[in-house]
């Protein structure tokens, strides 16, 4: 699906890599959006239980998710998309686990 040469050469044109970039954007973008919205729910103003904040958090998922999907084609290759989005997703979920664990029984 991807090769390694383009990642070493910053001057190379952007590879299309339609499938790998689309899947990375849709799947990892969604996972990242859930984690970032979740972080906002737990460490954002009001804490997770503020009245009707849950609805706002749900609304937050969509622009983050689709923003990632829209812009993920800017990655130089599908491999780059998976590496960067994957890394960001793992980081965000780790942060979410750390943020929410002390508050749950």
């Amino acid at each position: 699906m991807t090769d390694t040469s383009s990642t070493r050469n910053p001057q190379a044109p952007i590879r299309a890599d339609w499938w790998s970039k689309s899947v990375a954007g849709v799947v990892l973008g969604f996972a990242l959006a859930i984690a970032l919205s979740g972080l906002f729910a737990w460490i954002g103003p009001g804490g997770p239980a503020a009245v009707n904040k849950l609805q706002f958090v749900m609304w937050l998922v969509v622009p983050i998710w689709l923003g990632v999907v829209s812009l993920c084609f800017l990655f130089r290759s599908g491999r780059q998309a998976w590496l960067w989005l994957g890394g960001a997703t793992v980081l965000a979920h780790t942060a979410l686990l750390a943020a929410r664990s002390p508050l749950l029984n």
């Binding site: 859930i34 009001g46 609805q55």
Partner: protein, 541 residues
């Protein structure tokens, strides 16, 4: 603005694919969505006038008590306040047996104090238009349709972003220019860019909120598992307006309806109550939601204040305009921006026009796709046949788009003719729409895009003209009538008919005199005999 050409090329492909996959679904959503802005006037246009004198709320208390005595099992019902005061409907209690019940029940009070319960039979045009808007007409369960439009809306967001990216490099040069020349591709591109750019904020708001409306169940499920550790129901329940209401189901008396309105007025003088929605009436847990508008705020269609029906205490104002916390007010604003339920008539008309413009955006998008895949005679040095994909998309575009237009106009006009003649007007509305829509699609594929395009445009003009024609006939024919104060419905339909007729004429002209190497050119074997005019472009052929 400088953007690398390879980026632009990439995003042009993103835009093409997302656009072509969703264009037809979004056309139906937008055309029906524009009509949802005026579904109440449409419903009244179809419904025979009934002699209703504006009521006061003096007898509402007797009505509630008598209905409770006759039907003690009905504990959840609504008292429409505004329509009764305005004389649009009698003073009555209504209730439904399911969420989208086309035929609700109603209890009215006779002068002698006895209660009559009957099943209402509203025309249901509002429900149909709403369903088409939310599902694009995908039949079956509402959840399936809204998931389909939710996914289409997600692709639509990507199409908007990619469209802006590919437009940026030429933005200054091409902005607000419409070049109407022989180069039809240039013209459709200019029209498409113009429509898209000036309504971009509207489209972004509509697209993002439509994704939420379509996919919120799935997002909530994921949030529950990943973010709230399975505790989301508890978090949601803690936000519910009903969270502090007791579960006392023992019998208890309730305050008279007017008392709730008095208390709401002292809480928020600018709030205009529309209806009272009772829950668990006659028990210790009885509540009343006073629904209404406050034009000074961005609210969902309507806001409400929750009161105890027994003691009239204010229980919750989290959905009351001007009395919400920041989170609730922000989310309400998102809803209001989608529904256009703010700013009164100007915003309503703007949303109607923006909705139609959106439909035109998707239509022109498909035309562009067809034009940019055109095989030209100049390149091929001889007569050409357009590709199968282009011919199919052209037929699909005219069939689906015009099928939706004809179906809606026809079912509205027919509603007035059938009103009072048939028992289940609601079912007729759906039957007429789907039969017309599917018929138009079949016609487009059988006849080919160029002939069907002009023919279906004439049919659109005729179906739209049938609406004011029905009103005019109402002056002379028994069984029809001219609806009071709804001349706007007839005028808009007449304007639509004129626009469709003009489009039909120009489609015909293009089929005959436009360039031959186009999907819209009249088919060779029929063009002379069908219209009696020889094509001008290539008289030798």
């Amino acid at each position: 603005m400088a953007i690398r050409t390879d980026v632009v090329r990439l995003y042009r492909q993103v835009h093409t694919w997302t656009g072509i996959l969703t264009g037809l679904i979004l056309f139906v959503c937008f055309y029906a969505g524009a009509l949802t802005m005026f579904k109440e006037p449409l419903e009244r246009w179809i419904t025979p006038p009934a002699a209703v004198t504006p009521a006061t709320l003096d007898r509402a208390e007797d009505l509630v008590a008598a209905t409770r005595a006759l039907r003690p099992e009905v504990r959840d019902f609504t008292l429409a306040v505004e329509p009764a005061l305005a004389g649009e409907a009698p003073l009555r209690l209504t209730w439904t047996e399911e969420r989208f019940d086309p035929a609700p029940w109603a209890a009215t009070l006779a002068p002698d104090g006895s209660v009559t319960v009957e099943q209402l039979n509203p025309s249901g045009i509002g429900l149909l238009v709403d369903f088409l808007h939310r599902t694009a007409g995908v039949p079956g369960d509402l959840d399936i349709g809204t998931t389909v439009t939710g996914i289409a809306s997600a692709l639509y967001v990507v199409a908007l972003v990619s469209g802006v990216i590919i437009l940026l490099p030429s933005l200054v040069k091409d902005f607000l220019i419409l070049r109407v020349t022989r180069n039809v591709k240039r013209m459709w591109l200019d029209a498409h860019n113009l429509l898209g750019l000036i309504s971009l904020p509207f489209h972004l708001v509509i697209a993002l909120s439509a994704v939420v409306f379509g996919l919120h169940d799935h997002i909530y499920d994921t949030l529950d598992r990943v973010v709230y550790g399975g505790q989301m129901r508890a978090v949601a329940a803690a936000s519910s307006p009903f969270r502090t209401v007791s579960k006392d189901m023992g019998p208890a008396g309730m305050l008279p309806p007017k008392e709730f309105l008095t208390r709401v007025h002292s809480l928020a003088p600018g709030f205009r109550p529309v209806s009272l929605e009772y829950h668990d009436a006659g028990t210790g847990a009885a509540t009343v939601r006073v629904w209404g508008h406050d034009p000074r705020y961005l609210v969902r269609r309507e806001g409400f204040v929750l009161m105890g029906a027994v003691d009239g205490r204010i229980i919750d104002t989290e959905y009351m305009p001007g009395h919400q916390n920041g989170w609730s007010a922000t989310v309400s604003a998102f809803f209001a921006l989608h529904f256009g339920s703010f700013g009164g008539g100007i915003v309503r008309w703007s949303y109607f026009l923006l909705g139609l413009a959106g439909a035109a955006l998707f239509y022109t998008g498909n035309l562009l796709w067809i034009e940019s895949r055109r095989r030209t005679e100049r390149q091929a040095k001889g007569p050409v046949e357009q590709s199968r994909a282009t011919r199919l998309l052209a037929a699909g575009t005219v069939g689906v788009c015009l099928g939706c237009v004809i179906g809606l106009s026809l079912t509205i006009a027919a509603g007035k003719w059938l009103s009072g003649l048939v028992d289940d007007l609601h079912a007729w509305h759906w039957g007429i729409y789907y039969a017309t829509f599917l018929g138009a699609c079949a016609w487009a594929f059988l006849r080919g895009a160029s002939r069907a395009g002009a023919e279906l445009l004439w049919a659109s003009a005729a179906a739209s003209a049938a609406i004011p024609a029905t009103s005019l006939l109402g002056l002379v024919l028994p069984g029809l009538w001219l609806s009071d104060g709804l001349i706007g419905v007839d005028l808009v339909a007449l304007a639509g008919a004129l626009v469709f007729a003009a489009m039909a004429r120009s489609a015909e002209r293009r089929a005959l005199t436009g360039s031959r190497d186009s999907v819209w050119a009249a088919p060779v074997e029929h063009q002379g005999s069908a219209m009696g005019i020889q094509p001008l472009a290539h008289p030798a052929e």
